[in-house]
Amino acid sequence: MIGESVKRKEDARLIRGAGNYVDDVNLPGMLYLELLRSPFAHAKIRSIDTTAAAEMPGVVAVVTGELMAEHGLAWMPTLSGDTQAVLATDKVRFQGQEIAAVIAEDPYTAKDALELIEVDYDPLPAVTSPQQALATDAPLIRDDKEGQDSNHIYHWETGDREATDRAFAEADKVVSLDTHYPRCHPAPLECCGCVADVNPATGKATIYMTSQAPHAHRTLFAMVAGLPEHQIRIISPDIGGGFGNKVPIYPGYVVATAASLLLGKPVKWIEDRTGNLISTGFARDYHMHGELALKGDRMVGLRVKMQSDNGAFYADAQPTKCRAGLFGIVTGSYDIPAAHVEADGAYTNKAPGGVAYRCSFRVTEASYLIERLVQSAAYEAGIDPAEFRMRNFIKPDQFPYTSATGFEYDSGDYEAAMRLALDKLGYDDMRREQAEARAQGRLLGIGVASFTEVLGAGKGKDYDIAGLRMFDSAELRVHPTGKAVLKLGVRHQGQGHETTFAQIVATELGIPPEDVDVQEGDTDHTPYGLGTYASRSTPVAGAATAVIARKLRDKARELAAHKLEAAPEDLEWEAGRFSVKGSPDRGITIQDLALAAYSDLPDGMEAGLEGVHYYDPPNMTFPFGTYAVVVEIDRGTGEWKVQRVVAVDDCGVRINPMIVEGQLHGGLTEGFAIAAMELIDFDEDGNCIGSNFMDYLLPTSWETPHFELGETVTPSPHHPLGAKGVGESATVGSPAAFVNAVVDALAHAGVRNIEMPVTSNRVWKALAEVGLAE
């Protein structure tokens, strides 16, 4: 039932090592595809010689951009309305870009053959930042695009410029921050890959794929590859983590499918970790300049200018009407009457992407900026950072609240979450401890961040992916023996849908979760949906599930009226059973009603107990919370050790508290990782530093802190279950909490900012600059 920490049904196979991940799929006659990647960030391709590679024993085919072009597949559309090279033809535009593919009888041979491909490159100067990209004499990256005469991609604005200018003109003080949210990467433990099986006899293409959105992918495949959509079946089996990395369509999928089509055999492509980090959808890389206008202790205006580093192709996986995702949520938890945001996107010689890694469509960037600015504002105003936030929070009686950038927040009680967090931390005691420590020469810092998230995309009118509206779906059928199967248009990668969605059915229809089989991921067997990312499954598919379960319950009521010979309105429902009001022993269980649906129906009633619902959410949902972090800095090395993390989240009604907490632990760890160590960097030649796990650092159990969780519950007024979604909240809200804590340890000496990742080197530099280094 909703609210219970039901143990997970999916565990049974996973703890036995019997999961079915894409690399576990092996089909008769299957071949293996390996990609050749460019060593240069920017270079013309003079020639590609694949003769020696093609002649190697065991090699079945070598594919280049030229061959793909013959089939109209050298380029493909991106989710942001741009085009992306599948295999490079004229030029390479980022280090690691796909140049050619070898298909062989085993992967070792394929790798051997890659070394025999000779590519003649003419290196070009590389562009490695938006500032460089947008300078007047910058090398043109997208000379393939007609009419593209610069590296500028888009300009986007939201809010009210004039009202904001007025607010700034009337301000007492202005606090500003220049910060770069660095490029990082979702790096799920399982890399991306597929097994493409285009069957020459049936003409049917079955593609096993690491996909968070199998239906959308099928439609896009049909449009890109020209395969008839009803002949494509995408199966997203068990996925070893997604975090947004498995939303885009990557060249490897397209080349594998084309190869399978041409060769008439199944083709497996599993990228290696280097391929994953160097070429697949990275996250963030926003250069942000933010200003807050203050009048006394109140924030009266927010102004943001930012530049987005989008890489060589504009491939943000976000709703089409959004150029900068949902960044407009940047006023956060605060009642800021005027705000204006402008953003410019730029091409650079780096991998394409940007919207990924539990970012909720750029909410991570927005939340980070406001929480860091608010921190500075508090120091400037001479007010405790927690107190300053509370004075500026949107108050409970202001909901539903329309922000200065047009978001209608559904519900919230920010002060309650903050107070609970401060209580759990023992905030006042901590401040005392901090002062005592400082007197002894030790540096303790307390960082607070209060975030408001926006998720659950979304209302079809406003939200679509490549034109496909972002509704989602649930199809529920109850069998004659009272068991049920629930099929969904979303696709989990570890979030526990097989359990939580069964709990929804259990609550609404009284069938125990173990009797509800939840299926996702096979486009032939599930209703159309837009997939799982941006924390949308519970808000959208969860709602769809509740709605359809209730519809079936309504039909069951009619059946019960028939079986019990009573009027439907005279029946009461409790825990899976209808009974006659006043005569509780005259009743019938849902299981018996299920049987009746096939065997004993009133005249005129259609048989069966099933239905499908496509849910169009009336609004987004707005979970929120306050995180508090305590750190101690080693003045000799600049290392910071986390002493405590308190995280209070409000995601409305929690379907399965255990699973929610697991999501929060994971999100807090990713937020910590981003704050502390994760970075994909580039040198001036565009060489990628961060394309393997020796350079791209993931925290282990040793570095990762222990988390103390708390909750408040402010239901969403518009969601059928009052639930809000939570998968990304902790990654959204926690980086600022960690950074605020480190800055807070040095704020008394005037330090206001340290850029992420907050490495020990950077901390030491800040210490040295203010004379606090050991």
Partner: protein
Amino acid sequence: MYPGRFEYHAPGTLDEALSTLDRYGDDAKLLAGGQSLIPLMKLRFAVPAALVDINRIEGLDGLSEEGGELRIGALVRHRTCERSELLHGRWGVLGDAAPQISDPIVRNSGTVAGSLAHADPQGDWGSALLAADARVVAQRSGGRREISLEDFFLGPFTTALEPQEMVTEVRVPDPGPRSAGTYLKLERRVGDYATVGVAVHLSFDNGTVRRSGIALTAVGPRNLRAHAAEAALDGQPLDDDRIREAARLAAEEAQPRDDERGSAEYKRNVVRVFVERGLRKAREG
């Protein structure tokens, strides 16, 4: 992800291994733990024509003290050192280094000797054993010699070993009854290479430092002895001023570079801080 092709030999005796090395010259690589070699082969940065797997050779996995001298056989794993009671107390520099090598799983396979032969300037054993005046026993068909680690490390990934030679043992001299040391490592996360590592190994005599060893990781083209810092300590009582002076000198002797782990200035400062902390800890021990 997939190594290139090679011939594989798994000799049962040392003689067999050495004659196989003779046959291949510098086209063969020895395989002990493989925790440095196999990753390089998977990336095809190393493409030896042959691998000589020494794991089946008996008698190479001893960790013992003989006449006060510590002997570490070629197949002694980091894991064994981490769990050995022998490496505490007067061998503290080694006992403190062992648990910090790479990550716990790598420590199960990787060997001390292999780490030395790999000669990564970011390798921890190099500094810990340098500070302890260790030497390697290098054998070849019909020959044997001992090489002090100072002479053994020539540069990044370069040692004095000839292609036909194999390290069969590491020997560490008796530091005397009153000795102490430690190894401090700054790393960005478990499993990363050191940003900076400092090994300290002191022998005391009536309250003065009879002999000191201070060696530095990841701040030079190889593991470095900080000789000037040691000279400032030798024959003197270990007081705070001398500790600070030695630390200052060691920082000067370091040759760090700017990289993603930090600036040269930062690393130099960490050397200073770690030498101070290491010496203080040795003083307490």
